[in-house]
């Protein structure tokens, strides 16, 4: 396995590095979403970002005609702005009833999925590009993607160390946080923007499936086995990185040659299903 690591890291350093950095970062966002009982929000935000990329592609923004038509920074900004809007919207709507929130997430998700396909249905490369975003391709990530992923990870760590408990209180018990004088609205907006930014970038670099999977699946697994919230906070990213690492290794095995993004999500989903089944027994 170490030989494989040495060989492939040289070849796919940016792609694998980005995947591992996101595998570390996304579960922390997942913790916030699970705390607020908004697991599906992650998919809705990511899909809205995909719609943003589709709008950009429709207008020819960032199309470099190289087969990687969604690589332009302007296109990334456009996708991120849609993702940020959806993230803020989802967080703001969290004040209302749970059923209503789930409905809004579903509407955003379905609108993003169908809209992006419809918009690019007559575009020569567009359909292929949007399918690549919605499925997952880890191998297209660039050194710039890796740098952005590391920067977002660093920002998350700093925010967690500086004000982690306050973020957790706002995410888990908004009413009490408000009574205690925390600026709940500002926190909610900030969290919405950050979640939108991270998920938009994640879908741009690795695709929707991988981004959504790494956000929620490690947290759902850890929820079944962890004895405390502190354990969740270190175990979720650890499990995420371990399963993505395992999947990257599995994917390249002789005779398998699997797509790494899908393999990673399948491994994580299997681990969650196993943990849930064992807990129910």
């Amino acid at each position: 396995m170490m030989d494989w690591l040495g060989e492939t890291m040289g070849l796919f350093f940016a792609a694998y590095g980005t995947a591992l950095a996101l595998a570390l970062l996304l579960p922390w966002l997942g913790v916030l979403l699970v705390l607020r009982q908004r697991v599906f929000t992650a998919a809705a935000v990511a899909q809205s970002a995909a719609f943003g990329f589709a709008v950009g592609l429709y207008f020819g923004i960032g199309d470099d005609h190289s087969g990687h038509g969604h690589d332009g920074p302007l296109l990334l900004l456009l996708g991120a702005s849609f993702g940020v809007f959806a993230g803020m919207f989802s967080m703001q709507r969290l004040r209302t009833a749970a059923a209503g929130l789930e409905s809004w997430s579903a509407v955003l998700f379905l609108l993003g999925s169908s809209g992006s396909m419809l918009l690019l249905s007559n575009s020569p490369h567009g359909m292929q590009d949007i399918q690549r975003l919605q499925l997952s391709s880890l191998l297209g990530a660039t050194p710039l993607d890796l740098a952005i992923a590391v920067a977002l990870l660093a920002a998350t760590l700093v925010a967690g160390i500086w004000c982690g408990p306050r973020i957790l209180l706002v995410a888990s018990d908004e009413g009490v946080a408000q009574v205690l004088g925390l600026p709940v609205r500002a926190w909610r907006t900030t969290l919405g923007v950050f979640i939108g930014l991270c998920l938009s970038f994640a879908i741009h670099a690795t695709g929707l499936l991988f981004a959504f999977g790494c956000t929620v699946l490690p947290v759902l697994f850890v929820r079944e086995v962890a004895p405390s919230l502190r354990a969740v906070l270190w175990l979720a990213p650890s499990v995420s990185v371990a399963t993505v690492g395992l999947a990257l290794w599995l994917a390249q095995l002789e005779g398998l040659d699997l797509p790494p993004g899908q393999t990673a999500v399948a491994v994580q989903a299997a681990v969650v299903a196993l943990a849930m089944a064992m807990r129910r027994r």
């Binding site: 913790v31 699970v34 705390l35 607020r36 009982q37 408990p165 306050r166 957790l168 209180l169 995410a171 888990s172 018990d173 009413g175 009490v176 408000q178 009574v179 205690l180 004088g181 925390l182 947290v219 929820r223 962890a226 004895p227 405390s228 919230l229 502190r230 354990a231 969740v232």
Partner: protein, 228 residues
Amino acid sequence: MTTRGEVLLQTHGLAVGRRVPLLRDVAWELHSGQCWFLLGPNGAGKSTLLLTALGLLPPLAGSVSLHESLWSRRSLGFVPQQDASAVTLPITVAEFVALGLCDLPMSKAELHERRDRAIAAMGMALASSQKVAELSLGQRRRTLVARAMARQPRLLVIDEPTANLDPETSMRFAADLDRLRRETGVCIVHAAHDLLLASQFATHVARIVGDRLEVVEPAAIGGPTVPR
């Protein structure tokens, strides 16, 4: 009414409501060491009055004065009816209570000391490392109170403290709160329906009748048995 500690909260001609006034001309004065029961039917405006008094809803008319120790809200404790968060992720009693101190500047040692003291005061010391989701309803309420009491509040507001608890558990819970009030001098406001508990533990009772808040003697509802 013999209990007269420091004035913590005072309203002047207060009208409360979202758009239309639910309550008008509310004159209410809370002193440290008091135990208030705010009684009224569902939808009468109990929560709206408390939210307005705590500055979370703007008054439609009149004003609210808070003691300076409550301006920053560091001396304020609030116990919601339900712990929305505790079932989604495995959070222990100790972690849950510590979250209530997240905005207060203090060392880790002081945080642990305050947390452990509040947990012990609510009789939850043995369950400290247990997950909140695995607790009984009564224990969860105690955990919520411990989170609020860890702030060492001067004013503690409790929304429907004994809703869905059986009578015996309700009585023990209210008795523990009353003991805490005597030990710490905290002013406790219960928004409640339970006349029996109010008659047992209230030093003061405010009753919503129509669009008015009436301050009545506990004797008027069958109490008090509590020395004030």
